[in-house]
Symmetry: C2
Subunit: 457 residues, 2 copies
């Protein structure tokens, strides 16, 4: 490792001159971005004036109109909406009640794509599984007709990796419970807080599996239910009445900073405009579109970059990545050379990872130099983007991930608590500074940025 670090340092000192000869001085632009107000204005405006923005609803359409107005006012070019159709799911009533001697209400929220209990609800005994693996191992007779309750032990991590490790209870638990004949399923919210605000999020059903009611208990309520189960059997009354509403329109909002060299390819950045319906989607993901937009504006205002920077406010990320898929399909004929997204809140970036072709490796070294003063170091992994730019990256486009701290992200993620007050303006500015440095370097890089092998392939 020592040798590798030393080489990186030498490479950083030997910066190729063309990068510094641009109108875009990455270090100066980075430092100016630490006084940014645009990202806050976007985050504050979108979360206040629109509020929640569930995919393919009237609220998301209002958000697109808001975005067009804002991006136009900020001076971006070619600002427009590209629509697509997608299935819509909307929340209904949702209550859970312990029956019997310890009668009490529990706080729940339906998972996206949850089935319905019907308007009269259901009553059934709880079948408890401490982990998803326990549910997997259970015989169907232990589950049939029961309200399955799956727990987990997710903890906060800086890299957010336990969302992947423990999120299976939400992603796969409902389908599994349904195939075993469960009446419904409750999961311990995939989160790390202790507030009575359940974490929603999408679940999916295999072809031919009839959706059952699937909801998340807030973490205090999940622990309460576990305590009650330690004392003996628990019967619940559950009412969950969401609806599938058929197909409706969603859309991406696109804005460009045109580059001087049309052959150099497009640098694609952005975040997602839609949010879950419970909060106002401040960390998920108003701040993501705000950070990337503010950084792109800083480059635009400093002079024309070599490459076109395209900012996309993707639609319908939360409910299945429809916006990212639609963008990749619609723009498959264009030459994208780089793609990156911001979709992990607005706490400090602490690490970056790249997936650059051999010819463009010096970009990573220059970025390491530019980001170091912000407290950002190079990670050992390979950049893979997220749901929105994933489809573009998977076509062999290069990318860099700017990784934010996830230590408090899953306290608020997908809950009613995802609101503006969770955004720390100083950390938001550090994000803008990191993205500004990234764009100054990537959009102006003299190297050709060719195809790469996608991460995980």
């Amino acid at each position: 490792m020592t040798k590798r670090i030393l080489l990186a340092a030498v490479a950083a000192l030997a910066l190729p001159l063309p990068a510094l000869a641009q109108t875009h001085d990455a270090a100066a632009l980075r430092d100016a971005a630490l006084r940014d107000d645009v990202a806050w204005e976007v985050t504050e405006g979108l979360t206040t004036e629109v509020g929640q923005r569930l995919a393919a609803t009237e609220a998301e359409a209002r958000a697109r109109a808001w975005a067009v107005k804002k991006l136009t006012a900020l001076g971006f070019k070619n600002v427009h909406i590209e629509t697509y159709k997608m299935p819509v799911w909307v929340r209904g009533e949702e209550t859970a009640e312990v029956l019997g001697a310890s009668a009490q209400k529990l706080a729940i929220a339906a998972l996206g794509n949850s089935g319905s209990t019907g308007s009269r609800g259901i009553e059934a005994e709880v079948a408890f599984f401490p982990t998803l693996a326990d549910l997997q191992a259970a015989p169907a007779e232990a589950v049939k007709g029961k309200i399955v309750f799956v727990s987990h032990a997710m903890t906060p991590t800086q890299d957010g990796s336990q969302y992947g490790a423990f999120g299976g209870a939400r992603r796969a638990g409902p389908n599994l419970a349904a195939t075993k004949g469960a009446a419904a399923i409750l999961i311990r919210s995939i989160g790390t807080d202790h507030h009575r605000n359940p974490h929603t999020g999408v679940t999916n059903w295999a072809e031919g599996v009839k959706p059952i009611a699937a909801a998340a208990l807030s973490l205090p309520d999940a622990e309460q239910l576990e305590r009650l189960l330690k004392r003996g059997p628990v019967r619940l009354k559950l009412l969950v009445t969401p609806q599938f509403k058929g197909e409706a329109e969603s859309g991406n909002v696109i804005a460009d900073v045109p580059g001087s060299d049309p052959n150099a390819g497009i640098v694609l950045i952005g975040g997602h405009l839609d949010s879950w319906d419970l909060g106002t989607g401040a960390i998920d993901d108003a701040s993501g579109v705000a950070i990337t937009t503010a950084a792109a504006k800083r480059i635009m205002d400093a002079g024309q970059p070599r490459r076109t920077i395209r900012v996309v406010w993707f639609g319908a990320e939360e409910v299945g990545g429809f916006g990212g898929e639609a963008y990749a399909k619609a723009h498959a004929g264009e030459r994208h050379v780089f793609a990156s997204e911001s979709d992990f809140g607005a706490d400090r970036v602490w690490k970056f990872e790249t997936n650059l072709p051999e010819s463009a490796k010096p970009i990573g070294d220059r970025l390491a130099t530019a980001l170091a003063p912000l407290g950002i170091s190079r990670g050992r992994g390979t950049a893979g983007g997220g749901t929105d730019v994933g489809p573009v990256l998977r076509s062999g486009v290069a990318g860099i991930d700017l990784d934010q701290s996830g230590l408090r992200y899953f306290d608020y993620h997908h809950t009613p608590d995802d609101t503006l007050d969770k955004i720390d303006p100083e950390q938001l500015r550090q994000n803008v500074a990191a993205w500004t440095a990234l764009l100054a370097i990537v959009a102006n890089a003299p190297e050709d940025i060719g195809k790469v092998t996608p991460a995980g392939h």
Copy 2:
């Protein structure tokens, strides 16, 4: 000040021997209490097996039955319920919605004793007042027919004093708004957190004033509404449908540790059994009854004290102190010489204050010595108790307050978030240790504890 501290130290060194000659060694009992499990068991059991315990409801009655069983099992004597009648108020539906271009829902909870909007709700423009004083100063025509919104700027304080300073918006705001002709009133929750969980709490109406709908916005929602109001007028649809249900039964649960000297008077301690309906009342006030009960049991198990220790789990504190009043009235004929309650959560006790007659001043000095190792120092104020033992104290009975840290108390107070996970078992044990030392000293004090001038009189 130096002189006063020095004298106190000398007094502490010159402990009167009789106190140490008891079977109750305050220091040893205190240290043993740092390994207490009883307080946790009571807190966990009551909040899990009963859950919320709104005054004069079926849930509070279940809690009384639970209390009798628990206090009896713990070995207390004379365990019984004393009932009284009181007016009952119960929550109904409660929703608030911004109308127009920024249509969105706001999280609210009705205040105790709130009036109703009727089942169809009301729509009206918001009249904003940054403070209660602004509402007070406003002419009736600025309020008439409007939904009044009163804010405040409460911050966390260790002594919790800003609850008094800023809580007027809840206590007096609704009555004031009603007298000026408001259609309804929303207040910024009297709290210090940033979660979407509104803080309820009781409000009161002057004779002849017709209750209007009165609800608290969660703090993020109050800030959201303020941001919207900065952009222009806001119309809201408000639905708040609580009901006054007439008179019903509530009650106090009483348990004794009989003393050896019937002439030495009763030492009255306790907390309240009822809770608000939104959470499970862990910090308010399962932990209070648990702490005082666990301490009394430690004294009981160590041998008979000189004075009878009476533990009361008061009913109906939250909604107007009915239990405390009923107890004082029913037991006016008994000689109480000391009263103290625990009703401020379960975080560390950091300060104590006394109101002792001249003859019993050495009790305070001995207590200072016994509490110092727990990180507790003597405050400069005068003990005044709380809602439950207040009526007894006001008859001239001596008291000592063990003051807990309030730095996070108003993050959870009166919200759905008042649940078991907010109790830190180690801090809970420190409370039991402090109360055990207090009881060892007070219940066995050889001094007569005579009448005092009540604090604030």
